[in-house]
Amino acid sequence: MKKSNILKLLFIVAATVAFMACDDLIQVEPQQSVGAEVATQSSTGILAVYNRGYRVQMFSGYWGLRMVMAGDVLADNGVSNPANSGRWTGEPINALGSGVGGWGRYSGINDLNTVIKHAPTVDGFSDSERSRILGETLALRALAYHDLVKVYGYEPNKIVDGWDRGVILRTEPTETIDAADFRSRASVTAVYEQIEADLLQSIDLLTQTDGNAPFYMNRAAAHALLARVYLYWERWDDAIEHATFAINQSPVTVASPGDVGPAMYAAEPNPESLFELKFTSSESLGVNIALSSALTPNVWLDVLPSDELLATLEPGDVRNSLYPLTEENYESVIGTQNEGLRYVAKYEATVATHTDNVPVIRISEVYLTRAEAYAERGNAGDDVLANNDLNQIRTNRGLAANVDLTNLVEEILLERRRELAFEGHRWQDLKRKGWDIVKPDATGPSPTLIYGDNIQFLSPLPNGEVSLNENLEQNPGY
């Protein structure tokens, strides 16, 4: 054989081998991620998605920031600091589009749905693990849907002009392109029914003794959440029943006066927490977004407690300590323009820099929920029961027990304002009662928001979603 022929042959062989091997050659498996089949068909994968179910509650659009404080500024607890950083300027004047929002929550709901679909069948969980994971995740889904429906829809018994649209309901994970279909909004009642069903199933699956409270969903918290849902739904009997379950099963009690103050909010967990989101430094929302940046002089101090809120606190109320003067704790960093101001001391970056835990359900709320449900039901003797629950809070906050049984509902709502300020309740409380919102004087010449007239009571759906999905109806007026 001639040399050139050998070369030719070799070349042909080399090229052929190369060609055949090429499909393998360009096969690469990712290192950062795993395929869907690995994640959803293994207990370790589902466990990680279950963790994600908690993680997504902590984003700035939800319980990391906006669910906690946007409503207080949209209502009457918070005002803009004249020396603000340009943030939080729309909410005080209820500028269109500055509502609480949170439509992005569906990404997290998809994670929750993934767990709820696969947890019952995936190998590798013990029965108790399986129940706990499923039960917690169902409660988280209920929380997410309730947060959505209370922002985007009216409450079932407070429908305005027949506008009964809730939010889109998805209870199955999106695993194929076809499943990402265009849906319309379910009625608020349908959404509430889904929330109720999730929580009832969750309560069945959960026990209070698995030791994960309050950083994970638990049976008392699920009862408390269900009581909150029934309160919004104005199903007083059910609210009373589940608030009572929550109180009876609660591992925590209402803090005594000496324990109330910034230290209570700095504690991990908050001694009153039934359910609290646990942040670590790696989940910090960062200097621009953190609750502590908006509320404390350490960073922007964009939002101040309104004079009207401070005025509700009598001199002996231990909750006055939650609104210290800026120079008391931040003398070295405040400029002259921020001297002499009171600020909210519930989130002072106590976990880590720009990082605080967020209590989502506290036992005080549950007492006030039951108090309101008693007062609203109005059966014989309910007023005394309601007043007893109200005084659970008052007497633990340095106030005298209430003895006047008239206007109890207003008194309870006032107590909620004092107790739950900057914890995500004020705006929703006024809205679910159908009350008008009287804006603080410091907000400037802004009108009172009339329930039923002002469109701002409902947040607008993202425009992009509405124009993309023909079946999706925008809220009235937007």
Binding site: S33, G35, S467
Partner: protein, 1014 residues
């Protein structure tokens, strides 16, 4: 992979064995002579003399002489070539003993005979049928630039080149023939001596505008040539990576002859291009009072400005007690540049080498910013025998950059804060410590001086190859290349600095590596039949694998700024890691057939497979065909033979691809979703798409090359239309599905343009030579199609350019009351313009394009005796830039009680006043209406400019003089960069792409240097 390596190494072994089997013994002679410049009579140093049959040669020495020994007696063709001169082919008969051959070479500005690199092979420029532009190293080696891509600016038609940042060693924006992709990359493919360079931006610490430039590995001094491949005919051999154009960088090689050393040294200073005029302290206080007065009178309120602006009162202004502190002076400085290079090149018949080393130390015009770089290069060629030769190119670079603490609108950004900070705010306390900043408690000078933001890039680019000549017409080349880079980012905030104070000091370290391995095996064939049929063909296989790995860690809590390493951190914060990879395998071929140098045809094909794409669409075919017709060779053109050197028409069409997408874009994956309570979380990163594949680019190109008067005047015209299709676009999904979008192939974008290049030896008389090159490009861009049924994607609209601004039109200030006015969609005045998702309800309008409609350059070189003057004008026309930088210190700054610039003097103060600056006010907008600082055409400016980019004056000592002082040559240079700019743009530097976000502006530099050869 293993199988291939095995078979290839066997193959190589066989080649090696057969290569050493030939031995030659014969009678020999010597060829010697002198090469001179026809127009000046001067001896030419460094011209190449090559005996083509033997592929043996020599370079002329300092006196223009050359000697080639041991030539077997016989008839040979000898080729004399030298860059810038017409190549001479001469027949010679070598007899035993000495044979003398002297030649005179004449200028060849057009470079028709020069060899250009065109992808896996090199061919004479005259045979080209594709559209490409060559930048010769000799024109750019001496430029005061940091990386070779900057050399393209103003010198290549069709390539928009913009310096993105004045950070020493910052990166460059290069777009060849417009923008064809929305979501995949738009940067061209860079190939250095056959090794593709990963374009992955590396440093996160230094920010996007400053990201370490991968081309920092190439010392501009080492460049032989840069070829920019523009149309499909030129680039299709690179297949799925070629859609954005391909830039081939070839480095210098040694030539046989005495070893020549070159030492260059330069020193330069850099100054800011210009500054915004800041309102001084007393006037600033008055303006703040005016703003508060306006607020108070509107609300009937009684806010006292003094409480908001550090206590200054109007009385203080009256009494002259309000100080002014010049923060611009504090944050900026005069920069310096030092560069030293030493190279040696030479060799003999068998081995040639080029070795160079460079050191560059540049201090930027912003405090604490600098770059230090060391380059080493060794390019070695060795001819083992007639059949086999090897080559090795190896370049290593260490670049260390210190950046400003931040760029953009941030407290740590000197470019922003120099204006933003109150002019009444002291810089230092009386005791010399840093003064407190009154608004944010953040002294930017302290932050920049105490903190570090540092990136060190260590890079190795190299390749080893061998060529085996199977026959004299057929060779096989194997090439193994590596582009390996590590980037070490450090972000340190001292516990004493305002950025680190709240954390007790902070440090973030990131270590990133890119390993980019390439090998290709190419068979090249060349032959001419019957003297008129010329065939060139090549075929090959290429494999590329790019692995990226990153890991980073951070910690906080340092005892003091003296402790800087992570080990000293009291509290570890986070550790993260990242790894990703892609692989590509390709088969390619190109066949060129020319008839009589007159009819030229060329076909290239590439079959690419890439792991990035969907399982069902992993392999793709790319191709191009082109035809050329040299009309000047036709007999009917004989009338022009006296003056027409060349007239060639070209046409090409082809399909290339754009594979610059993320590595696993097609896969349905669950990816890290953070953690809850320290337990790791997973979340689906997207819905998979098995059909996802490359973007496709189809280009048709018509070209005309011409040269007249013995190539003293020459040029090219190209007209192209490029349509990019199958664009990677995100189809919106309803977000309630859990996913915002799905990436799919849809949509089309068109780029069209005309490019003209003209060059000439304008004057060549009595030793005075003036050469000049002009290029000009016109381009337009249109989005033709989006996802099915969509005519809009965000602010991109079908029928409009991709890079257009879409914003409100500003109507100035109402002369009656100082309110800012806008035009609504119907052209009526409004105070509250609104956006809407439907175009017809949206008040925003199409108001300008970030891409220029035309750009070009004009390069000149004047030589007289030893003097040489180079100057380059460069310009860009029709592009708009949103100048929010200037805007943020006009009225928008009032609401933060921040620094103001001279623009604020134009604010509305009294009824009837016509101005564009609204009434002073303490917030960004008055209740119930839109503020003037809202994004609108108010700050949108025409950023067209013409710039005297570079002037370089050099004097070379006469040979006689330099020899007297014992050196081969000596040259002195004086160079200025960004010397003069003509523009209407109000920002600091119009050389910008898009919005002016307080980036690090370029500087004006003046450099003196010396070059010594010995």
């Amino acid at each position: 992979m293993k199988r291939i390596l095995l078979s290839l190494s066997t193959f190589l072994f066989v080649l090696l064995v057969s290569a050493f089997s030939s031995v030659a013994v014969a009678q020999t002679g010597t060829l010697t002579g002198t090469v001179t410049d026809q127009s000046t009579g001067e001896e030419l140093t460094g011209a190449t003399v090559l005996i083509t049959q033997l592929e043996r040669g020599a370079a002329t020495g300092i006196d223009g002489s050359y000697t080639i020994e041991n030539i077997p007696v016989g008839d040979y063709n000898v080729r004399f070539s030298f860059v810038g001169f017409r190549t001479i082919n001469q027949s010679v008969t070598i007899s035993q003993g000495e044979n003398v051959l002297d030649v005179e070479m004449s200028l060849d500005a057009a470079g028709l005979d020069e060899i250009v690199v065109s992808g896996y092979s090199a061919i004479p420029q005259r045979e080209l049928t594709g559209s490409m532009t060559t930048v010769r190293g000799r024109n750019v080696q001496g430029l005061d630039i940091a990386s070779p891509d900057q050399a393209l600016q103003g010198r290549v038609s069709g390539a928009r080149v913009t310096n993105l940042s004045g950070q020493p060693g910052g990166s460059t924006y290069v777009r060849v023939r417009g923008i064809g992709s929305i979501n995949a990359g738009n940067a061209p493919l860079y190939i250095v001596d056959g090794v593709p360079i990963s374009s992955v931006d590396q440093s996160s610490t230094l920010g996007s505008g400053n990201a370490s430039n991968p081309l920092n590995a190439i010392n501009p001094r080492d460049i032989q040539s840069i070829e920019v491949l523009k149309d499909a005919a030129a680039s299709a051999i690179y297949g799925a990576q070629a859609a954005n154009g391909v830039i081939l960088i070839t480095t210098r090689r040694g030539s046989a002859g005495n070893t020549q050393f070159n030492l260059t040294s330069s020193y330069g200073v850099a100054e800011e291009l210009n500054r915004l005029e800041v309102i001084k302290g007393p006037e600033w206080v008055e303006l703040q009072y005016e703003a508060f007065e306006n607020y108070n009178s509107f609300f009937g309120a009684n806010l006292n400005a003094a409480g908001f602006i550090g206590g200054w009162t109007l009385d203080d202004v009256q009494n002259g007690e309000v100080p002014h502190y010049n923060w611009q002076d504090a944050m900026m400085r005069t920069g310096t540049t030092q560069k030293y290079n030493l190279s040696a090149s030479g060799g003999d018949d068998q081995t040639r080498f080029f070795i160079s080393g460079g050191y560059n130390n540049t201090e930027g015009v912003a405090i604490t910013t600098d770059m230090q770089r060391m380059n080493l290069r060794a390019n070695i060629d060795h001819r083992a025998n007639d059949k086999l030769s090897f080559d090795l190119n190896l370049a290593t670079t260490v670049t260390e950059q210190n950046g400003a603490l931040q760029e953009g609108f941030f407290l740590g950004s000197p470019f922003f804060m120099a204006q933003f900070i109150r002019p009444t705010n002291p810089i230092y306390n009386e005791d010399g410590t840093y003064a407190t900043e009154e608004v944010f408690n953040y002294n930017p000078l302290a932050a920049n001086e105490l903190d570090d933001r540092n990136s060190t890039q260590k890079q190795l680019v190299g390749n080893a190859g061998a060529i085996y000549n199977i026959t004299s017409n057929l060779n096989f080349r194997t090439n193994w290349g590596l582009d390996y880079r590590t980037v070490e980012d450090i972000d340190y905030r001292a516990p004493e600095s305002p950025a680190g104070e709240s954390l007790g000091g902070y440090r973030f370290d990131a270590n990133r590596t890119v390993t980019n391995f390439t090998t290709n095996q190419v068979v090249n064939y060349y032959d001419t039949f019957s003297e008129v049929h010329s065939v060139r063909a090549l075929g090959g296989f290429e494999y590329r694998q790019e692995t990226r790995e990153t890991f980073s860690a951070s910690g906080q809590g340092f005892p003091s700024g003296l402790f800087r390493t992570l080990q000293n951190a009291a509290e570890p914060l986070s550790v993260t890691g990242f790894g990703s990879e892609y692989r590509q395998a390709s088969f390619f071929s190109r066949v060129q057939y020319d008839y009589d140098d007159t009819y030229l045809t060329n076909v290239s094909v590439r079959y690419d497979g890439n792991s990035r794409f969907g399982e069902d669409k992993r392999w793709g075919l790319f191709y191009a065909g082109s035809l050329g017709w040299r009309a000047s060779n036709m007999s009917f053109m004989d009338f022009s033979n006296d003056w027409l050197e060349d007239l060639k028409f070209r046409i090409s069409y082809g399909i290339t691809g754009n594979s610059a997408i993320s590595n696993f874009a097609s896969r349905q994956l669950f990816t890290s979703g953070g953690a809850y309570n320290n337990a790791p979380a997973l979340t689906p990163s997207g819905l998979g798409n098995n059909l996802l594949t490359w973007e496709e680019s189809g280009t048709i190109n018509l070209g005309l090359d011409w040269a007249i008067f013995e190539s003293r005047v020459y040029g090219a015209i190209d007209v192209y239309s490029r349509e990019n299709s199958k664009l990677l676009l995100d189809r919106d999904l309803p977000s309630d599905s859990g996913f915002g979008s799905l990436t799919e192939n849809a949509g089309r974008v068109q780029n069209q343009g005309i490019e003209i290049e003209i060059g000439a030896v304008v004057l060549d008389r009595a030793g005075f030579v003036w050469t000049s090159e002009v290029n000009m490009s016109w381009q337009r861009n249109e989005l033709l199609e989006l996802n099915e049924g969509a005519d809009r994607l965000g602010n991109l609209f079908v029928g409009r350019p991709l890079t257009e601004y879409y914003m409100y039109e500003y109507a100035g200030v109402n002369p009656a009351d100082g309110r800012p006015m806008f035009y609504d969609r119907n052209g009526n005045i409004t105070y509250t313009p609104s956006t809407a998702s439907e175009r017809e309800n949206d008040d925003r309008q199409f108001v300008g394009d970030t891409q220029p409609s035309s750009f070009g350059g004009w390069f000149n070189q004047l030589n007289y005796r030893g003097f040489q003057l180079d100057f380059l004008f460069q310009g860009s026309f029709g592009q708009a830039s949103y100048n929010s930088f200037t805007g943020s210190f006009t009225d928008g700054a009032f609401f933060r009680r921040a620094g103001l610039i001279a623009n604020s003097r134009n604010r509305w103060t009294e009824p009837g006043q016509i101005t564009s600056v609204e009434k002073a006010y303490v917030n960004s907008s008055w209740p119930g209406r839109t503020g003037g600082f809202t994004t609108s055409t108010r700050f949108l400016e025409n950023a067209s400019y013409i710039r005297l980019k570079n002037v370089n004056f050099a004097y070379t000592l006469p040979v006689a003089v330099s020899q007297q002082i014992g050196v081969r040559s000596a040259r002195f240079t004086l160079q200025a960069t960004n010397l003069l700019t003509w523009t209407a743009y109000n920002g600091i530097d119009p050389e910008i792409v898009g919005t002016n976000n307080a980036i690090y502006p370029q500087a004006r530099t003046l450099t003196a240097g010396i070059e010594i050869g010995f």
